[in-house]
């Protein structure tokens, strides 16, 4: 490996080397201690508690909905066979969303159709 130690080029190469490989040793941000740490941990725990309570509330609400629906459907099954089948099966006529946009090379001149009304599944 040939080493050319010329005075004029030295500074530039050293500078490049320093920039690339030596990172400035900065003091690390002070870790929390004492009261501040306690408060931080309490806040973190309370947040997790909040998330858990929300999740459990959502889960209870969904369970309640499912249970009431299940009761209604069992009752319907006993009452009318045709209505039961109609209530349990979704519309089979629409298999592909007709309103889906086909990707094009350039955007359309009509950016957004504000007067659009979706077809309602009246079955």
């Amino acid at each position: 490996m040939s080493t050319q130690s010329s005075g004029s080029g030295d500074n530039r190469v050293d500078m490049i080397r320093r920039v690339l490989f030596e990172s400035p040793q900065r003091p690390q941000s002070a870790p929390l201690e004492g009261d501040a740490l306690q408060q931080h941990e309490t806040i973190e725990r309370a947040w997790k508690l909040h998330i858990m309570r929300e999740r459990e509330r959502r889960q209870r609400s969904l369970e309640k909905q499912f249970r009431s629906l299940h009761v209604a459907m069992t009752e319907l099954e006993k009452t009318s066979d045709r209505l039961f089948k109609g209530a349990s099966v979704k519309s089979r006529h629409i298999t592909y969303p007709k309103q889906a946009k086909i990707p094009t090379d350039t955007p359309s001149t009509k950016v957004w159709d504000y007067s659009y009304k979706a077809l309602s599944d009246a079955l």
Binding site: Q38, T42, R45, A46, L49, H50
Partner: protein, 301 residues
């Protein structure tokens, strides 16, 4: 001008924790009423489920309280409260027990003295003068010359009977040219519960003999084992030499609940132990003389 405290995230957090605690305690009163109702009807499975729910509510209502957490950090635990028992047990299960099992397997305490697959349920905390140690640490013999105070941290509120012994599996057996187990100390019928963790009372079967690793031998593993007894037992004092922990446990149908051990090697304090406490001549072990396998041939000049 009155200094209005800022409404911080910490205040909001404390409010939520207090609200959650209130809701859990309300649920707890309902559960307790249900327990009272069910005990009259004697449905065992339902009762256990309700009791589990009760302890769960008691624990979780206090678990997020920063005061409780700080008490636990500073080791000011009140084992009569389910929260502290829960926190202590969780720390043991997640941090202390895996380390203990690692050390115990690595240094072969496990197949030698204790069955493979035993899960420790209690902590054996031995207080050596001016030194705290981890399982398997190397310690000088002068620290164990007198009986150390032992606290067995357990998590059951009811009082159970324990047997604790100190065994050395690396005691030299000269006649058979191998090592044997030597029992230094045995105490039975010790009543322990979560609130009473210190080993006191009970019946000393074998009086405490301080560990004395002999000169010329390698490091000895001095192991404390805590067994749970099904009932009160009566153990006749046996010889310290040729002890067998597994046979002993099987004979009295004991269940291994806790292990802890320390390593020691000979130093000058052991000579003092032999002279003052044991009162016998100190044995010095060494390697047998080397046998010459090859006869030297003539040297060709």
């Amino acid at each position: 001008m009155s200094s209005q405290p800022r409404h911080t995230a910490f205040d909001e957090a404390m409010n939520l924790i207090q609200q959650d605690k209130k809701e859990r305690l309300e649920m707890l009163t309902r559960v307790e009423k249900e327990i009272d109702r069910v005990t009259k009807g004697t449905l065992a499975a339902q009762l256990t489920a309700l009791s589990a729910l009760k302890t769960d509510l008691l624990v979780k209502s206090e678990l997020n309280d920063p005061a409780v957490r700080q008490n636990f950090e500073n080791n000011k635990v009140d084992m009569s409260k389910p929260v502290y028992r829960y926190l202590s047990q969780r720390q043991f299960n997640n941090f202390l027990r895996p380390k203990l099992l690692e050390r115990v397997t690595q240094m072969s305490v496990v197949p030698d003295l204790v069955d493979v697959g035993v899960q420790p349920q209690v902590q054996i905390n031995v207080q050596l003068p001016n030194q705290s140690f981890e399982p398997g640490d190397i310690v000088t013999p002068d620290l164990t010359t007198s009986l150390p105070t032992i606290n067995i941290t357990n998590y059951h509120t009811d009082s159970r009977l324990y047997t604790i012994l100190l065994v050395d599996p690396d005691s030299p057996d000269v006649t058979n040219k191998t090592y044997q187990q030597y029992c230094h100390w045995m105490i039975t019928n010790v009543e322990l519960s979560a609130t009473e963790s210190q080993v006191q009372g009970g019946q000393t079967v074998l009086a405490y003999q301080p560990p004395h690793p002999q000169k010329g031998t390698k490091k000895h593993r001095y192991t404390w084992i805590a067994y749970e007894q099904p009932t009160k037992i009566d153990v006749t004092p046996m010889s310290r030499d040729g002890f067998n922990t597994k046979a002993f446990a099987q004979q009295h149908s004991l269940v291994t609940r806790g292990v802890n051990f320390v390593r020691q090697q000979w130093d000058a304090s052991v000579s003092d132990i032999y002279k003052d406490i044991l009162g016998i001549q100190e044995p010095i072990y060494g390697k047998p003389p080397k046998v010459e396998h090859y006869i030297q041939r003539h040297v060709y000049i």
